[in-house]
Assembly symmetry: C2
Homo-oligomer: 460 residues x 2
């Protein structure tokens, strides 16, 4: 039992010598994800077929070896980190787009496909896969399924879950399952598809994904609106939506964010700006030209200091730059950040902003908030220096306070990053033991030996 020299031989028999890595530097590379937490695996394996993946799980099941599915390791909560060692199973060799069906608006893909590549491939055929997490140039669709990734376009188009029609997957026992349908509708039996979506790789190893696609919108229109009050900005967001205009993105930058990026931008902002909204409309050109004017007028009529309407792609890129420059520039403030993807009802965003200000004062740390205001999903970044024990403790307390505030406002501790290991201890604050026991019962049905991504989501 457990991982032995013999395990290596058996793994090599399944995927070939080139498909198994034991090299200590390589093991280190696959020991962490975007959280920076690191746990060494005993081997990294790269199956290239579903049959190989199934054989790896059979071997692991028979020997009680943990198996941790991994896409690109860009996850934000430690989902791909092998906290109990064992095998990291990387999907990078299963990265083919198997089919794009224009007649039925469907694609079949393997889990290792990079989301950005999927976007390009379907858009070339006049189709559209809406979910677009910030990491789309590196993250895999398998990882997106595992975490139920969101991103800025969720306001209008929903999240990964809303585009997954069916799955092929390997159970921890090595048995292969098919869930869901390849049609627009389907309700036969319990919804295993959406149970696996967002289960953070703890229930089954996804080997093939059937995606629902849309027709590609004809045009996109980007604009930025500046406010001297967060309350105004938040009220404007729900005001726009009440007019039956649903922008595909409504991104928000708080005062601290604006201060950070201001100097690096190629457009002017009013001095008194305290909140910035970047809005993006899509649809046919006539409609969005008209809607853009409506949205601009609405913003201006609701206290906006100024509105910039991008006239072309270059100008649109400049506006987006404000948002995209943020993540790297954050490290100017402090060496480390904790990025929490909390969600509150849109109307409570101003309360959240007030409360984060209090947390900032109390902790003495800088908090920078930005994100998907259109669905209340704000990324709160707590900036600190990990090596400074006192700062680290204050940062941890700040996270605690932030979750408390979020739940009191009727929100959730995670909108799109999942629980992983970083939010494990907070999950019982949002979800009571009765529901957690149901989830643990489901985990046991799928994974009686607890070998698939063990030590995640729930404190056992």
């Amino acid at each position: 039992m457990g991982f032995t020299g013999n395990t290596v031989k058996e793994l090599e028999a399944i995927v070939g010598k080139a498909g198994v890595t034991l090299d200590s530097e390589e093991l280190l590379c696959y020991s962490y994800d975007a959280t920076g937490r690191s746990y060494l695996p005993q081997a990294v394996v790269f199956p290239s077929t579903e049959a190989q993946a199934a054989d790896i799980l059979k071997l692991a099941f028979a020997n009680s070896i943990p198996v941790v599915p991994r896409g690109s390791g860009s996850g934000m909560t430690g989902g791909a980190v092998p906290v109990q060692g064992g095998i990291v199973l990387v999907t990078s060799q299963m990265n083919r787009i198997l089919e794009i069906d224009r007649e039925n608006f469907i694609a079949r893909v393997q889990p290792g496909v990079i989301v950005g590549d999927l976007h390009r491939a379907v858009e070339e055929k006049g189709l559209f896969y809406p979910p677009d997490p910030a990491s789309s140039s590196v993250c895999t669709i398998g990882g997106n399924v595992g975490e139920c990734a969101g991103g800025p376009r969720a306001v209008k188009y929903g999240v990964t879950r809303d585009y997954i029609l069916g799955l092929r997957a390997v159970l921890p026992s090595g048995e292969i399952i098919r869930t869901g349908v390849a049609t627009a509708k389907g309700v036969a039996g319990y919804d295993l598809t959406r149970l696996i979506v967002g289960s953070e790789g703890t229930l089954a190893l996804v080997t093939e994904i059937t995606l629902r696609l849309l027709a590609k919108p004809e045009q996109v229109k980007t604009m930025a609106a500046f406010f001297d009050s967060v309350d105004q900005a938040a009220r404007t967001v729900s005001g726009i939506m009440k007019q039956a205009i649903v922008p595909r993105c409504v991104e928000y930058l708080d005062e601290a964010s604006i201060r950070l990026v201001r100097d690096s931008l190629s457009f002017e902002m009013p001095d008194s700006v305290k909140a910035l909204l970047i809005l993006e409309l899509d649809g046919d050109s006539d409609t969005i030209e008209r809607e853009a004017v409506q949205v601009r007028d609405f913003c201006e009529g609701h206290g906006s200091l100024d509105v910039i309407l991008a006239e072309n792609q270059a100008q649109a890129d400049q506006l987006w730059q404000a948002r995209k420059a943020l993540s790297p520039i954050l490290f100017k403030i402090a060496k480390n950040k904790i990025n929490e993807d909390i969600v509150v009802p849109i109307s409570r965003i101003p309360d959240l902003v007030r409360e984060t200000r209090k947390i900032q004062e109390k902790s003495g740390l800088t908090l920078v908030s930005f994100g998907h205001a259109g669905d209340g999903n704000i990324h709160c970044n707590i900036m600190y220096d990990q090596r400074d024990k006192d700062q680290a403790e204050r940062a941890e307390k700040a996270v605690d306070d932030l979750f408390e505030v979020t739940l009191n406002l009727g929100g959730t501790i995670t909108g799109e990053h999942g629980v992983g290991i970083t939010k494990m201890k907070f999950l019982p604050r949002e979800i009571s033991s009765i529901e957690l026991n149901l989830m643990k019962g489901i985990k046991k049905v799928f994974d009686p030996e607890n070998i698939l991504n063990p030590g995640k989501i729930f404190i056992q």
Copy 2:
């Protein structure tokens, strides 16, 4: 153990004398649903609060009495039929709309709310709840959650699942759970919400539903397009969607349907018509006026014999009349019908039509097909006389053949009606024993005593 005289007393202690019915005529009324299959319960109970519902389940759990949740009994697969007797728990006294939150586009409702009432209530506030099954004037939102109801607007707006953010529910043990969120996004823990949606009342008794709402579309435009070939009609459907125009409804009537309703309609149809599409666009008035013309031109350019564009609500109602007159008029052909809500990929609709023609010839029965062509969800009605044993057998064989054909075309045996009792024996053709065992394992986690709606979905 089991249902005794004492059970009646305890039920009366929970809901009061007026809340329990033992009267044999009443029991008969609650013994069947829209399938016409009838199984007598031992009591019908009408809780008016979640606490009462929980107490009923505690009592049933302690005494191993089956409990069958029931809304209006308009289900098409026997979901609300008490096949093992016991208690029918009717949600009609839990029918309050608790909250409509315009700021956050959310409603909280009890399960007994009639879907049509919900539509009206939210639309009065400028909001919109898209799912609209044909039975919306009588069916309950709780029933819609149980079956994951669809309806014609699913083409553009998706199904019930896509609008359920969170639930309160009572487990078979009587414990109360809360699932999901009251925000647009949320991924904390496994997706119990969507596991319960579509579980046909077998996992938990839903007591409160948090719904996602949209802004009400400014205007609706209805049109009808006539074709002398089903293939043309089907190709037109996917052609329209490729142009990035997504009608909110694309309803289809086959030749048999058209023949049935032709005389009762107040508009003219070309003689050679073999397929009718009723299309509905919604959005702001400028856009849909333009899109309507585009769709009309597209239909005319793709072999449509004629297109009627409704100029006002009265004309739109006339067009819809063709679709709405169908269900009652079907009984002109035969005393009984089996209505199967199969789904195939849109591009396979012409194949399905050819195959149903063969089934018609082989069975000697009349098949009438109509439904939601936009998502490939066709309602196939097999007309027969139940009292004629030979016809009943041929009808059963026709269902068998229809499901075989559907699965061979890459489809599913149920798009929106669920499995219930009528499709139970066919489910293993679509879903293999490995996945069925997972589902049965999940059922056991939620309902270890198998008291909640037993005898449904799975053959035990």
